[in-house]
């Protein structure tokens, strides 16, 4: 029989806060008092979130950052681009280098494009153009 360690009235604690307690428990005092987070920390958090997203997507190898941002991760067009990556680009050294550079740059590009609609439009034009070429090739086969 499992021994209940915590009473029902004890507050829930998160894993990240538990880690923070080891780092510096005074941080938690600031957090729960509602102290102001520095702008540098806010920027670092956003960067960290983007990096986490990239890391997790890398593990799934569903990475198609820009296409996922424009169309959604499971859109037919995103899947087509993913297939092109796996069946064509990966075969060649230059293709693999391109993929590596793309994965390094695309999270940052997506972060910027969320704030700059101009970049968003440009990315959409480039990806749409590529899709038209791929669609054409796909129908010609």
């Amino acid at each position: 029989m499992l021994i209940k360690m915590s009473k029902n009235n004890e507050p829930w604690v998160s894993a990240s806060d538990i880690g923070r307690a080891e780092y510096c428990s005074h941080y938690l005092e600031h957090k729960y008092k509602g102290s102001k987070v520095s702008p540098a920390a806010q920027r670092a958090r956003k960067k960290g979130d983007s990096s986490h997203e990239a890391f997790n997507q890398q593990a799934e190898d569903k990475r198609c950052f820009i296409a996922s941002h424009i169309y959604g991760p499971d859109d037919r067009r995103t899947i087509l681009l993913r297939r092109y990556r796996d069946q064509t680009l990966r075969k060649y050294f230059a293709g693999r280098v391109f993929i590596a550079v793309y994965y390094k740059l695309s999270p940052t590009l997506v972060t910027i494009s969320r704030k700059l609609p101009v970049l968003d439009e440009l990315l959409m034009k480039v990806v749409n153009r590529l899709l038209r070429i791929l669609d054409k090739e796909h129908h010609n086969v």
Binding site: M5, S14, A15, E22, H26, V37, A59, V97, A100
Partner: protein
């Protein structure tokens, strides 16, 4: 000089290419944190919630991965967080037997105790600290240059160095 530059560029390309390889884990991916849309796990016995970044099915059970996006070493707080997230995942029925903590250039595996209680005991002190902080008690500061520099409350903290 040109040769050095070429070697440098090739080394950077190799590092770039190599760093996009998967973690080299001998197992199958069974769970991914999708961000804000993914709910955390809850361990009702210890009132701990959390979610690892990834979970893999491995031979001995489940491996939970905690990723830190910094370059550099792994800190004890990362390990404590990883263990806490693993305990939360156990509460949801995942038989987490090992954790992997990794930064951009380092990674370390840790075996977990079989018993949830033993795992909890290893983080109990920090869990108590969090509960004390939540209840409004003053908490001890551990100021140091490298910690305070990256702290979100650096500007508001009287102890910051």
């Amino acid at each position: 000089m040109i040769l050095s530059f070429v070697i440098y560029v090739l080394a950077k390309l190799y590092e770039l290419f190599r760093s996009t390889n998967q973690l080299g884990i001998d197992g199958s991916l069974i769970w991914t944190d999708q961000g804000k849309t993914t709910k955390p796990f809850f361990n009702n016995d210890f009132r701990i919630l959390g979610k690892p970044d990834l979970m893999y099915k491995i031979r001995s059970g489940v491996l939970a991965v905690e990723y830190k996006s910094r370059n550099g070493r792994i800190y004890k707080s990362d390990i404590v967080q990883a263990k806490s997230a693993a305990l939360a995942a156990r509460g949801a029925g995942y038989h987490v037997t090992k954790v992997l903590v990794c930064t951009k250039n380092q990674k370390q595996y840790f075996e977990l105790p079989k018993q949830d209680l033993t795992l909890y005991k290893s983080i109990e002190k920090y869990v108590s600290d969090v509960r004390e902080a939540k209840s409004g008690l003053a908490m001890k500061a551990k100021p140091s240059r490298y910690k305070c520099r990256s702290c979100a409350y650096h500007q508001s903290c009287q102890f910051a160095v």
